[in-house]
């Protein structure tokens, strides 16, 4: 990149071409004042404070929109500039009700900082008149407060909403003297297109927009800031918990611009859904169920009780009669210790976790095709992709911050976006092409795209010849799979499939982004293999801004897999059935280990029915709401001889337990999460936990010790050191190395800088392998009695089974309860109006919920979010499994819907 050299305040500065004077000054520690600049936004130059003098140019120049040029001499401050800045600030203060004495932002306010620096007199041009008190767009919002008397109309919030979040909820209303920030027509914020990211609150430089729940709960000087990793979803946003140590309360959540991977951007959950931490419903002591009722117990009582029951079952029925469900919500350290406990202390490989329900097919499929089952590339690379193909991912709702990168790619860099999704999801607004495939027909769609690529000779033959195997057999198989055939199956017009193939294959770099729309099928592994085929066919793997990128659902589902909370592999995907590996772990753990792979989640519950499983140890999972075909799952939870649940709440699952142990949540413990781009990041304790709750790994160590396999660690960091010693892909990870920025595995040794993208020049398995995949219909098809196709999934405001998110007032306002989406025509035929109470039924069960009548779904299809205990979608879902990955088909089953009386 070309550089320019110039002078600021007498100092020589060299910066890349295209750097503004403001940014250049910042890079050398010269602080030019500003109130409307943010590195994430286009310069607006509305505050006019950043003016500088450039030698030889007339007048003053604003530095936020002027590029550094070779040889120029810039003066950032002299008497004239300071005087003008002071006057402008005094003008701004004449519009700002100065209320620093009672303002939450006192000490963290940019306007205050500037006014102090220039000793601006707030009354110089008169104090602002108080506006008549009248409701504004945020008056009824549970999340945000807006005070027009303090607003300096810098526009940062409006621009953030439009340019970064692209929600376009905020705008200016009114003319001179009465200008205010508002929504369209002044409608309530929670009824507008706002997605509650809270970016407006954080970007506000003048304390005008406030986090409503935080008002009066502490100023900058009262709060202690702890950097940690968000516990919602796999993006792994870096957040700062601002805690009042006196009250032990998280007052509000912020995030720093420039942090990896989220650059200061958050979604509603990270910003507004921390209420659960201080919830009065948190478990505070161990509970033992006696005569059908929970009674409080001491830790020694509980541990003894557990040890006796587990020992008895193990002795009578053998170690394979016990199973453990580890947790994608817990840390890497918790997961490592949990699987070590199940494997070494119990002696079985019956350990699995909810990755089985989300991305088991990714792990299975990508391991077969590439040799490594994780996101191949990094989040940041999406911005520069020539084409992004999003299939089966409602990114804006499930991975909101990654969606920002995709939107930025389209808006700023002209990236071609193709979205394949049965619904008119938010990303479709930005897409060049939308392919609304019928649920469960992805293989047909992708095969036809590859048919077009091969028949139009758009493939990357050098890549195929040099780096892959199995091409000719595969090519023969898709040769006959024409777009017209695919149209019959998918309902997507053949011409659109052709266009998609041409755009994808024609792009300089093309990145595939997918999620559970691909994986949660009986053909989940096939779907993943098809995407792997597509990427290899066009040479879009092993290079920057390409790849096959599964977006992992939960905060640490990547880490839970990495650390071996799977029945077939030890930490680092080392197979349990490989005797050399088994020997290695037997040596490391000083214990004989089982050579047989264990059962998967749904298999464990089915094995309860046959009596093969007698005890289940569940850490931080909620299968009583999250697993398919709930009637069957709940029956198993009820009938299993011994159920031990470790959680932060008395979840739906915990209610079935014999013993419940209270855990600390992410904000109360140290450890690491691994995000979807394989980045191992720190989790740090910010508040003290309630009652007698303890960190998961400590509890497990105690149970293990009591069972005769002693485990003891001083800290989470010490566990990570043990992980590094037995897990080659984590070999170079340690707490001190990831203190400020996380590292991406594989990171084999202490000098290794981490891996931005996988398979560079060579696939992990050697050669990339093409697989021949033929289309198979979903397990269940609509019929006369159940004429609709029902899909389930996530929505923006909730996480998993809602145990955490549903404790937030801001979230409850916008997402009070569950619903089923139905096309307006179908609703019309059935006499269903928006908001009506309806009954949705499948052959497995029925639930009551509310109808959401929409045009964003195709006729004949229904969609339900799964987060809600009232009207749980998983009463309806089918527990048919993918034969390889054992993932259930959450995305397709046959259903019927009818109106219920009010």
């Amino acid at each position: 990149m070309k550089e320019v050299c110039f002078t600021i305040d007498g100092r020589e500065v060299t910066v890349p071409e295209g750097t503004t004077i403001l940014e250049a000054a910042k890079s050398v520690g010269i602080d030019i004042p500003h109130l409307c600049y943010d590195s994430r936004l286009e310069p607006a130059g509305t505050c006019r404070l950043c003016v500088v003098q450039i030698e030889g140019r007339p007048g003053l120049t604003i530095s936020c929109n002027t590029l550094a040029a070779e040889g120029i001499k810039v003066c950032t401050e002299n008497d004239e500039i300071a005087a003008i800045r002071k006057t402008v600030l005094e003008l701004i203060l004449s519009e700002h009700r100065v209320a620093c004495t009672s303002c939450d932002m006192d000490g963290a306010c940019k306007l205050q900082d500037c006014a102090y620096r220039y000793q601006a007199d707030e009354g110089r041009f008169g104090l602002p008149e108080r506006r008549p008190v009248k409701p504004n767009y945020a008056t009824n919002s549970e999340a945000i407060l807006y005070d027009p008397d303090k607003c300096i109309l810098c526009g940062l919030c409006v621009r953030y909403c439009e340019e970064v979040q692209k929600a376009e909820a905020l705008a200016f209303a009114g003319r001179l003297g009465q200008i205010e920030v508002s929504t369209a027509f002044g409608i309530d914020l929670h009824k507008s297109s706002c997605v509650l990211c809270g970016g407006c609150v954080e970007i506000c430089p003048a304390g005008t927009m406030l986090d409503r729940a935080a008002i009066g709960k502490g100023r900058e000087k009262d709060l202690t800031r702890t950097r940690t990793t968000c516990a919602y979803c796999g993006v792994g946003c870096q957040i700062d918990l601002n805690v009042d140590l006196k009250t032990n309360e998280i007052v509000h959540v912020t995030s720093e611009v420039g942090c990896i991977p989220n650059n200061g951007n958050l979604c509603v959950k990270g910003r507004f859904a921390m209420d659960f931490v201080a919830s009065k419903k948190r478990l505070a002591s161990p509970l033992i169920k006696r005569n059908g009722r929970f009674e409080k117990a001491t830790w020694p009582e509980a541990i003894n009780f557990i040890a006796e029951r587990l020992t008895k079952i193990k002795t009578q029925s053998g170690p394979d009669s016990i199973a453990g469900l580890s947790s994608a919500k817990c840390t890497n350290e918790d997961n490592y210790i949990f699987q070590k406990f199940i494997r070494a202390a119990i002696g079985t490989n019956n350990v699995d976790h909810c990755a089985r329900l989300c991305h088991a097919s990714t792990v299975a499929g990508l391991a077969r095709a590439f040799g490594s089952g994780a996101m191949t590339n990094s989040i940041d690379e999406l911005k520069n992709a020539g084409c992004i193909f999003v299939i089966g991912s409602n990114t804006s709702e499930a991975h909101p911050v990654i969606a920002l990168y995709i939107k930025e790619a389209v808006a700023k860099n002209g990236t071609h976006l193709i979205v394949a999704d049965p619904r008119q999801i938010d990303l479709v607004r930005f897409a060049e092409l939308h392919l609304p495939q019928k649920p469960g027909t992805d293989v047909a769609l992708i095969n036809a795209m590859m048919n077009v690529i091969i028949s139009e000779k758009l493939q990357d033959s050098d890549f195929i010849n040099d780096l892959t195997e199995g091409f000719s057999e595969f090519a023969n198989a898709v040769k006959n799979f024409t777009p017209e055939m695919a149209e019959e199956i998918t309902t997507v017009p053949a011409e659109k499939i052709r266009q998609a193939a041409r755009i994808y294959a024609g792009a300089s770099t093309a990145s595939i982004v997918y999620s559970m729309g691909i994986t949660q099928h009986t053909t989940g592994t096939d779907n993943v293999l098809s995407l792997a085929n597509l990427s290899m066919l066009t040479g879009n793997v092993g290079k920057e801004s390409t790849g096959v990128n599964p977006l992992r659902g939960q905060n640490n589902v990547q880490g839970a897999c990495d650390l071996g909370a799977l029945p077939n592999v030890y930490p680092g995907y080392q197979p349990v059935e490989d005797s050399k590996i088994q020997a290695k772990f037997e040596k490391a753990w000083s214990k004989e280990l089982s050579p047989n792979k264990g059962l998967t989640v749904v298999e464990i519950f089915h094995a309860v029915e046959t009596g093969d499983i007698k005890a289940i140890y569940i850490m931080g999972e909620n299968p009583a709401l999250s697993d398919p075909n709930l009637n069957r799952t709940r029956k198993a939870l009820e009938t299993v001889d011994f159920l031990l649940v470790q959680d932060i709440f008395l979840s739906e699952t915990a209610q079935y337990a014999d013993v419940v142990l209270p855990s600390v949540c992410f904000a109360e413990k140290d450890g690491t999460f691994t995000n979807t781009e394989r980045r191992v990041q720190r989790v740090r304790a910010a508040v003290t936990p309630p009652g007698q709750s303890r960190s998961d790994w400590e509890t497990i160590c105690d149970v293990s010790t009591r069972l005769g396999y002693p485990m003891s660690y001083d800290s989470a960091g010490q566990i990570m050191d043990e992980i590094a010693s037995v897990t080659p892909i984590y070999g170079g990870i340690s707490f001190d190395r990831i203190d400020s920025v996380g590292l991406q595995w594989p990171c084999p040794d202490k000098e290794h800088p981490g891996t931005k993208y996988l398979h560079k020049g060579r696939f992990t398995r050697g050669k990339g392998k093409f697989h021949t995949v033929s289309f198979k219909a979903p397990a269940e098809s609509p019929d006369a009695k159940y004429p609709f196709v029902l899909s389930t999934g996530r929505q923006l405001y909730q996480f998993h089974t809602g145990t955490m998110t549903r404790k937030s007032a801001a979230i409850n306002q916008v997402s009070p309860t569950g619903y089923v989406e139905i096309h307006i025509d179908d609703a019309g035929k059935l006499g269903i109006a928006d908001g009506d109470k309806v009954e949705v039924a499948t052959i497995r069960g029925k639930v009551s919920t509310l109808a959401k009548v929409t045009k964003n779904i195709e006729k004949g299809w229904l969609f339900m979010p799964f987060h809600f205990y009232e009207g749980p979608a998983n009463m309806l879902t089918i527990d048919a499994l993918d034969p390889l990955a054992k993932i259930p088909e959450y995305k397709v089953c046959a259903a019927t819907i009818q109106k219920q009386g009010r």
């Binding site: 109130l35 310069p43 607006a44 130059g45 509305t46 505050c47 006019r48 003016v51 007048g59 003053l60 604003i62 929109n65 005087a83 003008i84 006057t87 402008v88 003008l91 701004i92 004449s94 519009e95 110089r124 041009f125 008169g126 300096i152 109309l153 810098c154 526009g155 705008a171 200016f172 003319r175 001179l176 003297g177 200008i179």
Partner: protein
Amino acid sequence: MRETRVLTRRVGKYEPLDLKGYKADGGLVALKKALAMGPESVIEEIKRSGLAGRGGAGFPTGPKWAMAASEKQGQKYFICNAEEGELGTFKDKVLLDGDPWMVLEGILIAAYAIGAEQAYIYINGEYDHTVALWERLVVEARKARLLGDGILGSKFSVDLQVVKGKGLYITGEEFALISSLETRRAASRLKPPYPTEKGLFGRPTVVNNVETIANVPVILANGVEAYHKLGVEGEPGTRLFSISGDVKESGVFELEVGSGTLAEFIDEFGRGTASGRPVKAVQPGGGTSAFLARASLGCRLTAQAIRQAGSGIGTAGVIVYEEGNSAVDIVKGLLEFYGSESCGRCAPCRIGVVRMREIIEKVFQGEGTTEDLEQLRQIGKACVEVSTCGMGQSFPLPVLSALELFPQDFEVAIGKVSA
């Protein structure tokens, strides 16, 4: 001193919708020439002519077109700015109503030169008659194949949309106009990027004033050499001057650039001051231009001479104030107008104009202090120095010049000296 009617020579000579009348009097000659020359040559001719914008800023027209023309792909737009909201300025209306076909011919040539297939004319929301006339004109022009596909049988296609302004002064500023056309809030934007790079809907766009565009057919029809015979070195051609204020006769007059002095213009075309008292002050370039005192009225009617005298030619809207007016009253009147016209985007202009309005009101009421006058100077200077667009950079100029030229009026108002 006499009028030189080049741009206005047909005004009143034909019925405004009568295309035949226009053609019979030399109309469309320039367009036909332009279509034969090709776009690059047209731009070259306009560059060579030295034509500069007549909307206030005086930016050279040819280079502006060349910037937009350099983008070879995709949609481009031409916008004729007929907002004409500046105080004391009503010259564009004369052309729009009196010789609309010439303005249209200019628009067509400009669109052809830059490669725009869609043009807009954004007309002042108070010019009801003009808007109605232009809506009918567009219908006539389509019938005559002057708009639509294949203009005059060529391969060039363009359409024109007539847009009625929203009654906001600021929409005379090009980016505010563009925002308004985009149905967004009418507000200026940061430059760069300029409209020629990222204008309407993010595409290259040329915005030209009505009088500017009316020069184009004249230059092409008569040739650059003929055009250069009028005017002075560096400022060729004629210019439409509006005159109003304390004069016996208001009106619009077309003068050869540099043909006389300001004093002569006031005497001969305004027929002197309304009361016969001497002139106290003049704003030569519309309501945002600095005052010139009587001593400066000997300056010639060129942009350069007026600039040297301490003001600007702006829109050439000459506003005359006779002795007997207090500068405080005049400035109060101006700030009452501008005080509600800032788009509100930038802090100094948005707040400064309101604070200055409040302060002058206080001074006018006899409650002002020396500190108030100092505040007017400080706020005014800050706005001029750091504002984004022409509005903020210029509305304080009459205030600042009044404080300098007529300090006594202010001192009387604050009671420091008696009248």
